[in-house]
C-alpha cells in the first residue's frame, strides 16, 4: 500500500491540488489575487515534492511504471507549469474563471503524468486523451475573442481526428500481436506490413501532438487564437510530455523495427525542419512566429532521436529542458506585452529596447537560446542533438539540420534587430512587471544560462538514461 502512494506520488499530489481548488470554488468568494497566490504556492509545493521519496517500480500489472528518469521528466513538466502559471499572472488577475482554468490545466498535467508512466497502450491512450480534451476548453479561455473559440474548435476536432487514427493503429496492433502491454508488443512486433501500417498510424498520432510536418497544420491557428498561457503550455508542456513518451516508446517498444522507423524519422525530420523554417520566415504575428519556429525545433529533436538510444534519450530530455526555459522566456515577454497592450505583431516590437530594456534582454536571450547561439544553453542543446544524430553517420541529415540552423539564425535575429536597432516613433510603452512574472522571467534566464554552463545537469540526465537502457541500439 505504501508502494502505491510512493509510486503514484506525483499523480496523487496533482489530484489533491485539483480537489483543493474545487473545494475553494465551492467555498466563499475569494479575490483573484488570493487565488493566484494560493495556486502558485500549491504548484511550487508540487514541484518541490517531486524531488523527495522517489522509488522505482510497477503497479497494476505493469500498467503504471515509474523510474528515476520518469520522475525527472515529470519534474521538468511541473517546473514548466509553475513558470507558466507565474507568467500568466497579469492575464488571469482580471479573469472571471481563474480556478476553472487551473483545474483544466492540472487535469491535462495529470493526463500527461499517466501517459509518461504508462506501460500499456490503453493506459497511454487514456493519458493522452486526458491531456488533450481539457486543453481544448482552456484554449477557449479568452471568452470574448472569436479567435479563441475558433482555436478551441480546431484543436478539439483535429485531436479527435488524430485520436481516431491512433486508436485504429492500436487496435491493429492488438489484432496482430494479441497484447497491449509494452513488453508484449516488443516481443511480437515484426516487419509484417499490417504491423508497419499500425505503427505508422501510431506514429502519426504522436507526430500530430508534437506538430511534425505534415501533421502540424493545426498548430499555427491554435497557437495564434489561444490565450498566450495556453499557447506556451501547448508548445512546451504538452509537446515535451509527448516527446518523452515518444522517445522511450521508440527505443524500447518498437526497437525490433528500428530500421523502419529510422527512415521514417529521417524523412519527417527533414520535412519538419525545412517547412517549419520556411513558414517561420514569413510570419508577422509573434505568436504565430513562435509556433512555426517551435515546429522547426521539433525537427531538430527528431534528428537527435535518430541517434543511438542513450545519447538520443539524454539529448532529447536535455533539449526539452532548455527549450522549456528558452521558449517560456520568449512567451513570458510576449504574454506580458499582449496582456497589457494587446499588441502581437512583430513590427510593434520595434525599438522595444528603448522603453523596456529588461524585457528586451529577456526576450533577446530567449531568442538567442532558441536560435542556438553560444554560450546560451540552446547552443549546447542543439549541439548534443546533432552529435546524437551524427552518431549514425547520416551526414546528409546533419548537413540539412546545420544549414537550417543558419537559416533560423536569420529569423530569430530579425526580431532581435527589431527590438534593439529599428527606429520607431511609437514603441510599446513602458510596462510594469508584476512580481510573479518577474520571478518567472528570471528563472527562465537563469535556466538558459546555467543549463548550458553547469555540466552537472547533462551528466545527471546521462546517468539516468544509462540505467534506463543499457543495450546499444543499432540503427539503419
Amino acid at each position: 500500500m505504501t508502494d502505491f502512494f510512493i509510486l503514484m506520488k506525483q499523480e496523487l499530489i496533482i489530484m489533491v491540488i485539483i480537489f483543493i481548488l474545487l473545494a475553494i470554488k465551492i467555498g466563499r468568494y475569494r479575490s483573484n489575487e488570493w487565488l493566484l497566490d494560493m495556486v502558485n504556492l500549491l504548484l511550487l509545493v508540487n514541484f518541490a515534492a517531486g524531488f523527495f521519496f522517489n522509488k522505482e517500480g510497477m503497479l497494476f500489472n505493469d500498467m503504471f511504471r515509474t523510474t528515476s528518469l520518469i520522475v525527472l521528466e515529470k519534474n521538468i513538466l511541473s517546473l514548466g507549469i509553475l513558470i507558466i502559471s507565474l507568467q500568466s499572472y497579469s492575464w488571469l488577475k482580471n479573469h472571471k474563471h481563474v480556478l476553472e482554468f487551473y483545474i483544466l490545466l492540472l487535469s491535462t498535467l495529470l493526463g500527461m503524468f499517466f501517459m509518461i508512466s504508462s506501460g500499456n497502450l490503453l493506459m497511454f491512450y487514456l493519458g493522452l486523451e486526458l491531456s488533450t480534451i481539457p486543453l481544448a476548453a482552456a484554449a477557449n479561455f479568452d471568452l470574448q475573442k472569436k479567435k479563441s473559440s475558433e482555436a478551441a474548435m480546431k484543436l478539439i476536432i483535429s485531436s479527435a481526428f488524430s485520436s481516431g487514427l491512433l486508436l485504429f493503429g492500436i487496435s491493429l496492433i492488438y489484432g496482430t500481436t494479441g497484447t497491449l502491454t509494452f513488453t508484449g508488443i516488443t516481443t511480437h512486433i515484426t516487419h509484417d506490413p499490417l504491423q508497419l501500417f499500425a505503427f505508422i498510424l501510431l506514429l502519426a498520432g504522436f507526430a500530430f501532438k508534437i506538430s511534425v510536418v505534415p501533421f502540424h497544420l493545426w498548430t499555427a491557428d491554435v497557437y495564434e487564437g489561444s490565450p498566450v498561457a495556453v499557447t506556451s503550455y501547448l508548445s512546451v508542456i504538452s509537446k515535451g510530455a509527448v516527446l518523452f513518451v515518444f522517445v522511450s516508446v521508440l527505443y524500447t517498444v518498437f526497437k525490433p523495427i528500428s530500421d523502419s522507423w529510422y527512415n521514417m524519422l529521417f524523412l519527417l525530420s527533414v520535412l519538419t525542419i525545412i517547412i517549419g523554417n520556411l513558414f517561420a520566415i514569413r510570419q508577422t504575428n509573434i505568436k504565430r512566429f513562435l509556433a512555426f519556429s517551435s515546429i522547426a525545433q521539433v525537427g531538430f529533436i527528431l534528428v537527435g532521436i535518430t541517434g543511438t538510444s542513450q545519447l538520443g534519450t539524454t539529448s532529447v530530455i536535455y533539449f526539452v529542458l532548455i527549450y522549456l526555459f528558452s521558449n517560456l522566456a520568449a512567451f513570458g515577454v510576449v504574454s506580458l506585452v499582449s496582456a497589457a497592450t494587446g499588441k502581437e505583431d512583430i513590427n510593434d516590437y520595434k525599438n522595444f529596447y528603448q522603453t523596456n530594456p529588461v524585457l528586451s534582454w529577456v526576450l533577446a536571450i530567449g531568442l538567442f537560446s532558441l536560435a542556438g547561439v553560444p554560450p546560451t544553453a540552446g547552443f549546447f542543446g542543439k549541439f548534443f542533438l546533432l552529435m546524437s544524430g551524427a552518431g549514425q553517420g547520416n551526414y546528409f541529415l546533419i548537413t540539412i539540420a546545420a544549414l537550417n540552423m543558419v537559416i533560423s539564425f536569420y529569423y530569430y535575429l530579425r526580431i532581435v534587430k527589431a527590438i534593439f536597432m529599428d527606429a520607431n516613433d511609437h514603441p510599446i510603452e513602458k510596462l510594469a512587471i508584476p512580481g510573479f512574472p518577474k520571478i518567472a522571467l528570471y528563472m527562465c534566464v537563469a535556466g538558459i544560462v546555467l543549463t548550458g554552463l553547469v555540466s552537472y545537469l547533462y551528466d545527471h540526465i546521462h546517468s539516468l538514461t544509462q540505467v534506463a537502457d543499457t543495450v546499444p541500439f543499432i540503427g539503419k
Binding site: L196, I200, L217, I275, L278, F279, S455
Partner: protein, 644 residues
C-alpha cells in the same frame, strides 16, 4: 597535506580583477594598487608554502617527485574519456612556475605602485595585471590541455590589454594589435595540434595523454603514428603544431616580430609579461609535454633545437645594434628563450640524458629574476630620464647608485659570470649542447659572447660613457621606496638563485639527480663572456667614436642587423603584396560575386518557396485533415511497399 588550498593562488588575483574591474574607477581609484598588491602577497605566500611542502615534505615518493591532481572538475564531457576539465596539477615544474609567477608579479605590482602613480586609469592597470596573473597561474596549473588552451588565450588577451594600456598612443594600439594577431596565428596551430593529439589519444587530460602517447604498445599510439598526412605521421604533425603555438607565444624566429613592438606597454608590464612569465609559456608548454616529444617524436625536438638556436643567435646579433634600451632587452629576452628551447631540443628523457631539460627549466627560473630586474631597472632609468634612447643617457651611476648596482648584478648574471645566477643555468645548457651536438654548442657559445657584449654595451651606455655632470634632468630622486624594494629583492635573487641545487628538484622524469658542475668545462664559456665584457668596455666605457668605426667595419651586416634583418619588411611584403594580391583580392571577388550571389539566391528562393506553400496553411480544418490523412497514406506507401 590537502593541496586544494592551491586553488586560492589563482582565485585571489581573479577576485581582485573582478573587484577592480567592476568598481575600481568608482571606489578604488587610488587604493586599487594596494588591494591588488596585498592579494598577490597572499597568493605568493601560499605558493611559497605549498611549494616548500611539496619539495621538502611530501612530494617525493621513492626518490621521484609525484604528479598530484589536487582538484579536477569535469566541465564538459563530450564522450567518455574526452572531456574539458578544470583542475590543478601539481608537479615540480608547475610548482616552480607558480613561485616564479607570483613572486615576479608581486615585485612588479610593488614597483608599479610607484611607477604608475598618478596615471588616470591606475586601478584599471592593476585590474589588468591581476587578470594576467590569474590567467598565467591557471595556465601553469592546468590538468587538461584544453584548460591550458583556454588560459593560454586569456593570457594573450590580458597581454593585449596591457600592451595597449596607453591606448591614446597609436603606436601602442598598433603594437597590441600586432602582438594579438601574430600570436593568434600561432594559436591556431596550437588548437589544431591539441585537437589532433586529443582526438587520437582519446583524452584531453594531460597526464593520460602523455601516458597514452608514450606507451608504444597502446592502441592510441599505434593509431596516431600509422595515420599520416603528406607522408608525415599525425603525431609529428600534432606535436609540431603545438610547438608552433608555443613558438608564437615565446617569440621564436620567425614569429618573434611582435615582441619588440610590445615594448610600447608600460615598462613594469614588459618586466612581467615579456620577460619573466608569458613569453616562457611556450617553453613551459613543450616541457609539459616533454615525455611525448622525447620518447615518441625526437625528430620534432630537432626542429625545436634548430629554431631555438637560430632565434638565440639572430636575436643576440640584432640586440647589439639597437639603441632603444627596452628593445635591446626585448631581443635579449628572445635570445635567452631561444636558449631554453635549444636546451629542450638537445635533451633526452630521463636521468643524466635529461640535462638539457633541467638546464632549460633552470634557466627559465634564473632568467625570470635577472630579466625582470633588468626591465625594472630600465624602467627606473626611463622614469628618471623620460626617454628610451641610449644617446639621452650616460653617466647615471652617481645619480642612480642603487639602480646602477642592481643593474650591474643583473648584467653579470645574464652574462654568465660566476657566482651569479645565470652562470649555473647557462653552464648546464652549454654542457647539454656540447654533449649532443658540437655545432649547436658553437652557436650557443658565440651567442653567450654576444650576450655579454650587448648587455655591457647597454650597461656602459647608461651608467658610464658621459660625465655625470652632463645629466641634469634628474628633477626628482631615483624613485620611491616602492620602486627600490623590488630592485633590491630581485638583485639578491639574481645573486643567489643559481645556488639552488636544481637537479635535485626538477628533472625530466621526476627522479632526483645529483649533478655537479664541471669546473674545467666552465673555463671556455666564462672566458668568452669576459671577452664580450672587455670588448664592450673598450668601445663604450668612455664617449668616443670607436663604436661608429666598429660599425663601419661591419658595413652592410651592421645595417642589416640594425634593421632587424628586414624581417618585419619581409612580413609586410608577404602579407601586403603577395597575400593581398594572390589571396585577398580573388577571395574578395569570390565573396562578392559567388558567395553573396549564392546567399541572395538562397534568400530569394526561400522567400519564393515560402510564398508558394502558404496555401497549405489555409485555416480550413478539413484541408488539414486531408494533409494529415495524405501524410499517413504516403508514409504507408513509401515505407511499407517501396523503401523497406
Amino acid at each position: 597535506m590537502n593541496y586544494s588550498i592551491i586553488a586560492l593562488i589563482p582565485l585571489l588575483p581573479l577576485a581582485t580583477f573582478i573587484l577592480l574591474g567592476l568598481f575600481g574607477r568608482k571606489y578604488f581609484q587610488t587604493s586599487g594598487g594596494i588591494i591588488a598588491t596585498v592579494a598577490l602577497l597572499a597568493s605568493a605566500i601560499i605558493s611559497l608554502y605549498v611549494t616548500y611542502h611539496y619539495f621538502f615534505i611530501d612530494g617525493k615518493v621513492n626518490g621521484t617527485y609525484r604528479h598530484i591532481t589536487a582538484l579536477n572538475y569535469t566541465w564538459l564531457e563530450f564522450s567518455p574519456g574526452i572531456s574539458i576539465d578544470m583542475g590543478i596539477l601539481i608537479d615540480p615544474i608547475s610548482m616552480m612556475m607558480i613561485v616564479v609567477v607570483t613572486f615576479i608579479s608581486l615585485m612588479v605590482h610593488i614597483f608599479s605602485l610607484g611607477y604608475m602613480k598618478g596615471e588616470d586609469r591606475f586601478s584599471t592597470y592593476f585590474a589588468f595585471l591581476s587578470l594576467f596573473t590569474f590567467s598565467m597561474l591557471g595556465l601553469v596549473l592546468s590538468t587538461n590541455i584544453f584548460q591550458l588552451y583556454i588560459f593560454w588565450e586569456l593570457v594573450g588577451l590580458s597581454s593585449f590589454l596591457l600592451i595597449g594600456y596607453y591606448f591614446y598612443k597609436p603606436s601602442a594600439v598598433a603594437a597590441s594589435k600586432k602582438a594579438f594577431i601574430v600570436t593568434r596565428f600561432a594559436d591556431l596551430g596550437f588548437l589544431i595540434g591539441i585537437l589532433m593529439l586529443g582526438f587520437h589519444a582519446q583524452t584531453l587530460d594531460i597526464s593520460t595523454l602523455i601516458q597514452n602517447l608514450t606507451n608504444h604498445q597502446s592502441p592510441q599510439f599505434i593509431g596516431i603514428t600509422t595515420a599520416s598526412f603528406l607522408g608525415v605521421s599525425l603525431l609529428t604533425w600534432g606535436l609540431s603544431l603545438v610547438f608552433i603555438g608555443g613558438a608564437g607565444k615565446s617569440a621564436m624566429f620567425p614569429l618573434h616580430i611582435w615582441l619588440p613592438d610590445a615594448m610600447e606597454g608600460p615598462t613594469p608590464v614588459s618586466a612581467l609579461i615579456h620577460a619573466a612569465t608569458m613569453v616562457v609559456a611556450g617553453v613551459y608548454l613543450i616541457a609539459r609535454l616533454f615525455p611525448v616529444y622525447a620518447l615518441s617524436a625526437p625528430q620534432v625536438l630537432e626542429i625545436i633545437m634548430s629554431v631555438g638556436a637560430v632565434s638565440a643567435l639572430i636575436a643576440a646579433i640584432i640586440a647589439c645594434t639597437q639603441t632603444d634600451i627596452k628593445r635591446v632587452l626585448a631581443y635579449s629576452t628572445m635570445s635567452q628563450i631561444g636558449y631554453m628551447m635549444l636546451a629542450l631540443g638537445v635533451s633526452k628523457y630521463g636521468g643524466e640524458d635529461g640535462l638539457g631539460y633541467i638546464g632549460s627549466m633552470f634557466h627559465l627560473f634564473t632568467h625570470a629574476f635577472f630579466k625582470s630586474l633588468l626591465f625594472l631597472g630600465a624602467g627606473a632609468v626611463i622614469h628618471f630620464i623620460h626617454s628610451n634612447e641610449m644617446k639621452d643617457m650616460g653617466g647615471l651611476r652617481k645619480l642612480m647608485p642603487l639602480t646602477h648596482i642592481t643593474f650591474l648584478i643583473a648584467c653579470l648574471a645574464i652574462a654568465g659570470i660566476p657566482p651569479f645566477a645565470g652562470f649555473f643555468s647557462k653552464e648546464e645548457i652549454l654542457l647539454a649542447a656540447f654533449r649532443a651536438n658540437k655545432f649547436i654548442y658553437g652557436i650557443a657559445l658565440f651567442t653567450a659572447g654576444l650576450t655579454s657584449f650587448y648587455m655591457f654595451r647597454l650597461y656602459f651606455s647608461i651608467f658610464w660613457n658621459k660625465p655625470s655632470t652632463e645629466n641634469k634632468t634628474g628633477h626628482h630622486g631615483e624613485g620611491t621606496w616602492s620602486m627600490k624594494i623590488p630592485l633590491v629583492v630581485l638583485a639578491v635573487c639574481s645573486l643567489l638563485a643559481g645556488l639552488v641545487p636544481f637537479a635535485n628538484y626538477i628533472t625530466s622524469d621526476g627522479a632526483v639527480l645529483n649533478a655537479t658542475n664541471n669546473i674545467m668545462f666552465s673555463i671556455v664559456p666564462v672566458a668568452v663572456s669576459l671577452g664580450g665584457i672587455l670588448l664592450s668596455a673598450y668601445l663604450y666605457k668612455k664617449e668616443n667614436d670607436k663604436p661608429v668605426r666598429a660599425a663601419a667595419l661591419f658595413g652592410t651586416f651592421y645595417k642589416a642587423a640594425h634593421k632587424k634583418f628586414y624581417i618585419d619588411e619581409m612580413y609586410l611584403f608577404v602579407t601586403q603584396r603577395i597575400l593581398f594580391n594572390l589571396i585577398a583580392r580573388p577571395a574578395a571577388w569570390v565573396d562578392k560575386n559567388i558567395v553573396d550571389g549564392f546567399m541572395n539566391l538562397t534568400a530569394t528562393t526561400t522567400g519564393k518557396v515560402s510564398e508558394s506553400i502558404k496555401a497549405m496553411q489555409s485555416g480550413r480544418l478539413q484541408s488539414y485533415a486531408i494533409y494529415f490523412f495524405g501524410g499517413v497514406i504516403a508514409m504507408a506507401a513509401l515505407f511499407i511497399y517501396w523503401w523497406k
